[in-house]
Symmetry: C2
Subunit: 338 residues, 2 copies
């Protein structure tokens, strides 16, 4: 099958953000639909995963992933339908999680994130959230690295977010007491009612987060799943228990390319014999299959609650991304490329 | 056997240090020789281990060990000869590593650090250094926690010190390239000539430690055995490799009870997927036997170089301690209680 020639839309980076990314950093352009090379597939993008980690790729600073070049298509995980395959392992009609980028069509070879999905298990967007990057990331941090245990206290920042809400639920299921930090009264309610947190703090309405955490965690904090860094991390460290483990999944509280000053941690880490560990899911893809199987089992048993914030239209991706960074979303942000 | 009544000398804390401890923070007093209770032994102190970690016990601040109370005997690991035993597992004439404190006699029960030593293997002071707290601490940090590997680059601060010199040698024996940071030209020479470091930097004569480390570690730093914290840690983090492990053994660069400001680490730890872990040997006593056996084997094979700085006279302990903190010693500082 050969697709008739045509054009499609893609979103490119036209200016590096000065501070928080804004929609004017991006532009939409129309280009010919690509032709897959040998070993590649032509996919039509159905959904895009909107993740905070993209922020670090938009600036020209050292990071764990290469920057998006000016004029380049914004990189993104997505779900695409295979229209044409020049790779023996894939065939038209399959739905894939893969690196589609912010565009309607992509010629892609299979990468470390590429995975065929089965919509008999869950609707496609779930494979970008609870059964995809969000769930896998939560599991790696909370279970594989922090190894949260029965009777421990686990604190999660961005507690109502796509990753945080799952990290909290996994910790709870492992027998821990869970305490969330989030940014609105509405999110506090969702954390308590939907995600089973034992306590939740709205950091925006708390004048002294350290004291609020100390009160919510009378036995100290054994595990901190950190999506924010900066002052929220400082407040957690003040209540860290002996043997505490901090896993750094994100640093939303710190602008990319900036190294702000803060209280030095090393004395606290020594006194508490504690650890701080940064991680990204990309280093752990060998764990994907086992983790997704475990998440799928819980998901089908109704044990994992999740929310999706679905925005319609490729052209809405920049706005959806800006809203995510401003904390205006609730749950996993996904763009439906209608 | 009952000892005739008599008196002995002990050194007590009379003023909390304001900054670096000075000899006038301590006083010597004469008290009756104690009588051991059931389950205790009376030991005569032969040697005292002078360790930088004592500094944190002299201030009234949160730490991993309780503070020495004002008027209390300074706590210290030492080597004592059993004079009288009211414990079935010990008998007069044995030499013990145990918590003697800065005093000539002590009534002690066996604790987690108590260990009978055999001077047929090595002279007694070695059991406070290469075959004792220093060697065990170096092994826990470098081998058990940082798990340094073949072909990796390991950096050690206080590289010529009692613990640092052994951490460097263990890393080298494990197949790593070793780079020391130390504080004088003489110590640099000792590091290169005696302890086998591949490179060594005198931080006092280097205006830009970050650049010096980047040059000495062209492939990045995989492991940092940190005895200092603060600016030396900042400089290491600038060259940390992906997957780097920092183990914090000490924080000599940070006054106890003070939390100075410094550049926030969390973004660097995330970008490099790196970890920082504080540890103290006291949490790992279950490893002592195996580690000492391993160190003893290397020691007898002549594979572990070590230096001792032996100071004579109990009354010299405060000065020896102050000199250690000022970096004026070379090797393990031990007080011989003649």
């Amino acid at each position: 099958m050969t697709l008739l020639p045509g054009s499609h839309r893609q979103i490119v980076l036209v200016a590096r953000p000065d501070g928080l990314p804004v929609p004017s950093n991006f532009a939409i352009r129309r280009v010919p639909i690509p032709t897959p090379s040998e070993g590649e597939m032509l996919v039509r993008t159905l959904y895009l995963s909107i993740d905070a980690g993209l922020r670090g790729r938009l600036v020209d600073a050292s990071n764990y992933a290469a920057s998006v070049p000016l004029g380049g298509v914004v990189r993104s995980l997505g779900i695409g339908e295979v229209l044409e395959s020049r790779h023996e392992a894939f065939f038209p009609g399959q739905l894939l999680v893969t690196e589609t980028g912010w565009q309607e069509y992509a010629a892609v070879g299979p990468g470390s994130t590429t995975r065929v999905i089965d919509t008999a298990i869950a609707p496609a967007p779930a494979f970008l959230g609870v059964l995809g990057i969000s769930g896998i990331t939560a599991h790696i941090g909370m279970m594989d690295l922090a190894r949260v245990g029965v009777g421990e206290t686990a604190v999660v920042s961005t507690a109502a977010g796509a990753v945080g809400s799952l990290a909290g639920q996994l910790a709870k299921a492992a027998g821990a007491r869970t305490v969330g930090i989030t940014g609105s009264a509405e999110k506090v309610k969702v954390c308590l009612d939907d995600y089973g947190y034992d306590a939740c703090i709205d950091y925006r309405s708390t004048s002294d987060l350290s004291s609020a955490l100390a009160e919510a965690c009378p036995d100290g904090i054994d595990v901190y799943f950190d999506n924010v860094g900066a002052e929220q991390l400082d407040a957690v460290l003040a209540s860290l228990a002996v043997g505490g483990r901090v896993v750094i999944c994100g640093t939303m509280g710190i602008p990319p390319g900036v190294v702000p000053m803060g209280p030095r941690y090393e004395r606290a880490l020594l006194a508490r014999r504690a650890s701080v560990q940064g991680f990204i899911w990309g280093d752990h893809h060998h764990r994907n299959e086992e983790i997704v199987a475990s998440l799928t089992e819980r998901y089908r048993a109704g044990e994992l609650r999740h929310r999706q914030h679905i925005v319609h239209g490729l052209e809405k991706a920049p706005v959806a991304f800006a809203e995510l960074l401003a904390g205006q979303n609730l749950g996993k942000t996904i763009v439906s490329v209608d």
